[in-house]
Structures are given as C-alpha cells and as structure tokens.
C-alpha cells in the first residue's frame, strides 16, 4: 500500500537511489553535473583564498605579509586553480552536462561513461595540482614560460603541469561528448535553427576544446620532458626556442578565454529573453557569432606576444584579427540589448546577473581593443591594466554568467526556490564589489603599476586599498549564495515545473527531473524563445522573498 509520502515525492534523479556508490558510479548526466558543481565550487573557493592573500599583501606598498617567493606561488596557484579547475569546466561541465540533453529532448549524453570519466579526470588533475600546492606550490605564473619553467624554477612545475595535462583531457572529452550529443541526439523536429542559443554557444565551445586542448597537452608534455631529461625544445642554451613555447602555449590559451566566456554568453541568451518576455533579437546572428568567435579565436594568439619579439608585419596581422573578434562580440551585446527593448522586464536575480554581465563584458571587451592596439599594448604590457581587463572578462563575464545560470536553473535542478531577496542582495554586492576591486586596477595599470610584484610604488596605494576593500566585498558576495542556496534545499518553497514560465524543453520536465528526463520523447514544432505564446511570468511570491 502506497504511503502518503511516496505520493508527495515523485521519483526523480535525486531520490531514485541513494548511497555514495550511486553517485560515484553514476552515468546520469544530471548527477554528473552536480558532481562537477560540488567539485568546482570547492576549487573556486580555494582559488578565491589565494586571491584574498594576494589582495591582502597588496594593501600596502611594502612586502610585509609574504616574501617574493611566496607571492609568486600565490598568484600562480590562484591562476592555475581558477582557470583550469574552475573556469574551463564551469558552465559546460555543470550546466552543459545537466541541460544540453534536456534542452534537446534527449535521455542522456551520447557517451555517459565517457562523461563520468571526464569528471574523474578533472578530479585526477585537481589532485595533482593540490599535491603541487601542499608541497610548496608553483611559481612560474599560470603561463609556464620557458626556460624558467623548464630549467630555473625550483618549484613544483612537474606536478602542476601534469595536473593541467590530465584536467585537459577532461575538457577534451566533455567537448567531444557535446559535439556528438548535439549532432546526433536532438529530438524529432528540433532543427539546428530551433536550438536554444545555449546549445549553439556550447557547441562553439566544444569545437575550441577539441581543437585547442590537445595542443596544450603536447606543449605541457614537451615542458615535462625538457624539465625531466634536461633536453631543450624551448631552452635556447640547449638549441631550443623560447618563443616557440609562447606560440604553442597561446595557441591554446587564447582560445581558452573563449572556452570560458562563450558558455556564459549562451546563458545570457537564455536569461534575457525569459526575463524580458520576448523572442531573442536576431537569432541567427547570435548563433553564428558564437561560431565566428570560436573561429577568430584561433587566429589571434600572438597578441599576447607583441613585446616578445616578432616581425612587425606579423604583429599587424594579429592586431587586425584581434580587432575582428570584437565584431561578433558586439553583435551579441547589441542583440541582447535589442531583445530587452520594449520587453516587459522582470528584474529577478538571474536577470540582475545578466545585466551585470552585459555591462562588465562590454568594459572588458572594450579594454581588450586597447590591448589589441600595438602602440597602447607596448605601454601597458605586464601592467595591472591587463590584469583588470581579463578579470572583467573572466569574473565580470564568465563568473557573472555562471551565477546567472546557477540562479536561473536552480529551481529545475533542486525543485526548490531560493530567497529572491537574498539573491538580489548578493547580485548587487557582487556587482559593486567587483567594480571596486578591478576598476582601480585599470587606472593603476595605465599609470604603470606592473603585475606580478608584491611591492609597488607608494603612489599606487590609494588605488590598491580600494581594490582590496572591493575584494572583501566581493568575497562576501560569493559566500552569500553558498548560504541561501543551501538554505533553500531545506526551507525553500517547491519551485514547480516552470517557475519563470520559460521557453525551452528543459522546463517541460518535472523539477527535479526524472532520471530519463522526459516521459516520452518530445516532438518540437516551434521556434526557440516563443515567449509570445507563453503566459507571463508569475509575480514574485512574497512568501518566497521572505527569508
């Protein structure tokens, strides 16, 4: 006889079975997404801890908290952990894994076991990098420039490089899975032009992961061999070429920036139509601009090397191509803005993050054009201007998009609503804290403050005090969601299947979804973002807003 509780709680991917084994051996894309979520959240706070120490040291001009050697390790480990263990996996591995099959009406990824394997590879890579941290850290910068990394550095280069090598295969396999899944697993009627833009941007991301990451793998393998066997691919003393290392490294690591930002752009393309209640403006342009960014992204790497010594003609070409990336990026920004024009805008938490994304990404992108300009780049190379620029893209862009995704899909993932008030408070705190942290660094960098030193000239102190104060605010902003999201798991109101009245197949499934996602395979007969056919979003529930 069925008891009352069984009737209330429908079977879903969370309660279908219990126990540690049912998680560690799962091939359900939704559970794997959650495994990634826990893993990279830990790495995010670890990387944030290093950032905190960096900002504390930079509160005063003198090196009074840590010495040079420790400081080098702090910013290196901050970069390695944040880039390879948080930003690269972030949205694709968590929300891509969870939602790509659901958005295309599939039961799972094309290769569920390979999907699980890629999570273990990330864990393995993370373990090696953690080992390098507890045994003293790496001090080469996340860029591993040779021959410092291959000969002179006395730190844990090998463990860190191996860790990135292993984590790279996690990224490759995720991309491979996405490409095959998107090509072969779409529901009947779901043509390419009906796909949600989140799918398009993850597809573009997957292309970069598949084409770029193997080059990083072989580059790090050569660094590894050079360091272990004292041979010289990159060491000029042994007949090698240090510039060659930089070319190979940036051939991956510039496109890697687009691995981090493209999925965020996809999230924004989902959130803005939903909270403006309008079809996206210029669907085809937004979709194709993702592909264009992926293609252009492979042709601009040497703009990281304008002062490294290359021919002026090569520099001109790379400068021009770097400007070209701004075109598809601007296409997106204009289309998002045009989507909001005359929309009925609901300023809920995901929308706040999306609006923050547009502003901060535009700032980051525009300052990127400064850096693509040869004359200005020579002036600001290796200054805090560059640091501020890429943090506007990676934190202001990628992490804002990640937070938008987390708040947009949290009701679907958990079946619970979080506190809307606290969500908005955190979003505003993060936006303000971020700007206070990084805007002063543009100024400091333009005035000549070099990056990667733990001491600086006293006239920069005011700006650095602002920045450190902003970082503290930002830190609080990131801790808040940790609290109210966990809170919502227990005390949050049931979300219902579609709390935002959002378009997209994922919202037609139950919240949380059953293991097989859909009762029967959906047949798609409509365009994406058909908001004119959907009822308006329910008003904010006062009960939800209360803590």
């Amino acid at each position: 006889m069925a008891t009352a509780t069984q009737v209330v709680e429908k079977e879903n991917y969370l309660n279908v079975n219990y126990g540690i084994k049912s998680w560690l051996l799962t091939t359900d894309h939704k559970r794997i997404g959650l495994l990634y979520l826990f893993t990279i959240t830990m790495f995010f706070f670890l990387g944030g801890f290093f950032a905190l120490l960096i900002r504390l040291e930079l509160l005063t001009p003198s090196g009074d908290m840590v010495q040079t050697d420790i400081y080098n390790r702090l910013f290196t480990m901050h970069g390695i952990v944040m880039i390879f263990l948080f930003l690269i996996p972030s949205i694709p591995a968590v929300f891509g894994n969870f939602f790509i099959p659901m958005m295309i009406g599939a039961r799972d990824m094309a290769f569920p076991k390979i999907n699980l394997l890629s999570w273990y590879l990330l864990l393995g890579g993370g373990a090696l990098i953690l080992y390098s941290i507890v045994t003293g850290g790496t001090d080469t910068g996340w860029t591993f420039y040779a021959p410092f990394s291959t000969q002179y550095s006395n730190s844990q280069v090998i463990a860190a490089a191996l860790g990135i090598f292993v984590a790279g295969f996690s990224s490759i396999l995720t991309g491979l899975n996405f490409i095959v899944t998107i090509h072969r697993m779409r529901a009947p009627g779901l043509t390419w032009v009906r796909l949600p833009l989140f799918i398009w941007s993850n597809y573009a991301t997957a292309i970069i992961q598949v084409l770029g990451t193997p080059v990083l793998a072989i580059t790090l393998a050569l660094v590894f061999l050079e360091r272990v066997f004292h041979i010289g691919f990159f060491n000029a003393q042994l007949g090698g070429d240090p510039l060659l290392f930089q070319h190979l490294f940036w051939f991956y690591s510039h496109p890697a920036v687009y691995i981090m930002i493209l999925p965020s752009m996809g999230v924004i393309s989902e959130v803005i139509p939903c909270f403006a209640r309008k079809r996206i403006f210029g669907y085809a342009f937004v979709a194709m601009s993702s592909i264009a960014i992926a293609v252009f992204g492979f042709l601009v790497w040497a703009h990281h090397m304008f002062v490294s010594g290359m021919s002026v003609y090569a520099a001109l070409v790379f400068s021009l191509l770097s400007y070209a990336v701004a075109v598809p990026s601007a296409v997106k920004v204009f289309n998002w803005t045009a989507t909001m024009y005359k929309g009925s805008i609901h300023l809920r938490t995901p929308m706040l993050y999306a609006l923050g994304f547009i502003g901060l990404f535009t700032m980051g992108g525009m300052t990127g054009l400064f850096l693509a300009c040869l004359g200005i780049d020579v002036h600001v190379t290796d200054t805090y201007f560059v640091v501020a620029h890429f943090h506007y893209i990676m934190v202001g862009g990628a992490v804002m998009g990640y937070m938008a995704a987390l708040h947009f899909w949290w009701p679907k993932i958990t079946g619970k609503m979080y506190s809307e008030v606290w969500g908005k408070v955190a979003a505003v705190i993060i936006f303000l804290g971020f700007n206070l942290t990084f805007f002063p660094l543009f100024v400091a960098g333009y005035m000549g403050m070099p990056r990667r030193y733990h001491v600086y000239a006293p006239e920069f102190q005011v700006l650095n005090v602002f920045s450190t104060a902003g970082a503290s605010i930002l830190g609080i902003g990131y801790l808040l969601p940790l609290i109210y999201l966990f809170w919502s798991l227990r005390y949050g109101k049931p979300a219902g299947d579609n709390p935002w009245s959002a378009a997209g197949l994922e919202w037609t499934a139950a919240s949380p979804p059953p293991t097989h996602n859909f009762e029967e395979t959906p047949v798609v007969t409509w365009e994406a973002y058909n908001y004119h056919e959907l009822p308006d979003m329910p008003e904010e529930d006062a009960g939800v807003s209360r803590i």
Binding site: P101, A106, R107, D108, M109, A110, F111, P112, K113, I114, I172, L176, N177, I179, V180, H183, R184, M185, V210, L211, G212, T213, P214, V215, A217, I218, T219, A221, L222, L225, F229, H230, I231, G232, F233, L238, G239, G240, D241, L244, L248, H516, T521
Partner: protein, 233 residues
C-alpha cells in the same frame, strides 16, 4: 550467439556496449543512432589526435626551417632500411584491418579474427623493429641528454632533431601499443561472435584508429628518414 553476447558489459567503455547487437544503450532510440554517434565520436577523437601530433609537427617544421643543415646531418644517422621496412609493415597491417572490417560487414567470423591477428602480428613486428632502432641509437650515444654525442657542424641543433625524433616516434609507438591492445580485444570479441553484419561498430572504430596511426607514420617516415637519403653514399 544471442545469449552470450549480452555478457560483454563487464568491459569498461564503449567497446563493450557496441559489441552486442542487443546492447542498445539506454540513451539511444535505435541502433542506427548509436552507430552514427559512435562513428562521429571516433572521428572527433581522431581530430583531437591530429591536433596533438600537429603540435609536434609544427615544432619539427619550425626547427627544420631554422636549422636545415643540422637536421640533414642528424637524419643521416637514421636506419633507412628499418624505416622503409616498417612503412611496408604498417601499410600491410592497415590492409589486413580493412579486410577485417570487410569480413565483419560480410559476417565471416573466422576471417575477422584471422585478419585482425595478422594486423596485430605486423603491429608487433613494427614495434620490434622500432625497439631495435632505439637500441642502436642508445649504443651510438644518439639519445638526447648528457650522454649525447654528435660529430657535425651544429651538434646542438642536431640534438634537437633527435629529441623530436624520439618524442614523435615515441608518441607514435605509444599509439601503436594502444592499437595492438584494441585489436587484440576486438579479435577476442569477434572470436566470441559478438559482431553481426548489421552491427559491428567496434571493428569499424578500431579500424579507423589503426589507419590513423598508420597515416601518422606515413608522415613521420619522410620527415625523419628521407630528408637526407640522397646524400648517403
């Protein structure tokens, strides 16, 4: 063959699920979708391999353009006959793999196993000859590192040639080793009768992989062995 073919699932990975016509995985609607997916997955994987080896080829080409004489002199220490024999061995092994794929399409179980074992044997012959070459380089102090000795106009860059030689052929040999393991596995499954004319995806995919590794060697052979060959007296 129907009853035993469902027992393939103890082998991890895609291999097991595709060995049995009855092992339609839960995420696919039908075998056709499963077959298309795994073939596309294999091609995408091979693209990542092209990029992996592409990085090494780029390093080789740039260094050779910068130091042509040093590379020429170093290349004269390659064993031409060993490389040439290995090329023939690999091309023949690819032929046998192609014949095995054909036999799988036709459903000739014993032929599949036979051709796969021949390909496997040739793969081992290749690795044996490669090992013999490596031994020769070791004896002649041509292994890069502190013990490296070279008489020539530009020994330091000739050493770079040998570094690239060992890295490129080393990674290639590693892929050969993996290929030998894969061929052995599908030969075993073929012997157990797991492949039907309608569904023999693992044979196709391992075949693709084998041909790819073969093609890498087709590029390595001229770049490493033939650039100086006409200069040999």
């Amino acid at each position: 063959m129907s009853a035993e073919s469902s027992h393939g699932s103890f082998i991890a990975g895609n291999l097991a699920s595709s060995v049995s016509a009855h092992a339609l995985q839960h995420q696919f609607a039908d075998l056709e979708q499963q077959r298309e997916s795994s073939t596309l997955g294999m091609w995408v994987f091979l693209i990542t391999e092209v990029m992996f080896f592409g990085g090494m080829f780029a390093v080789y080409l740039i260094n050779r353009a910068l130091h042509p004489v040093a590379f020429l002199e170093a290349s004269q220490h390659m064993l031409f006959w060993a490389g040439a024999v290995n090329t023939i061995v690999l091309i023949c092994s690819s032929l046998f793999v192609a014949l095995a794929v054909h036999a799988a399409q036709e459903g000739h179980r014993k032929q599949i196993v036979c051709f796969l074992l021949l390909a496997l044997l040739l793969g081992l012959v290749f690795l044996g000859i490669k090992g013999y070459e490596y031994h020769g380089h070791w004896v002649e102090h041509k292994v890069p590192g502190p013990a490296f000795q070279f008489e020539g106009t530009d020994p330091i860059h000739s050493e770079v040639f040998f570094e690239l030689y060992f890295v490129m052929t080393g990674f290639h040999a590693l892929h050969m080793l993996i290929g030998v393991g894969l061929v052995a596995a599908i030969a075993w499954f073929a012997w157990r009768g797991h492949y039907t004319p309608a569904y023999h995806n693992a044979v196709d995919n391992v075949g693709l992989y084998w041909h790819f590794v073969d093609i890498i060697w087709i590029f390595l052979f001229p770049l490493l062995y033939l650039i100086s060959h006409k200069h040999v007296p």
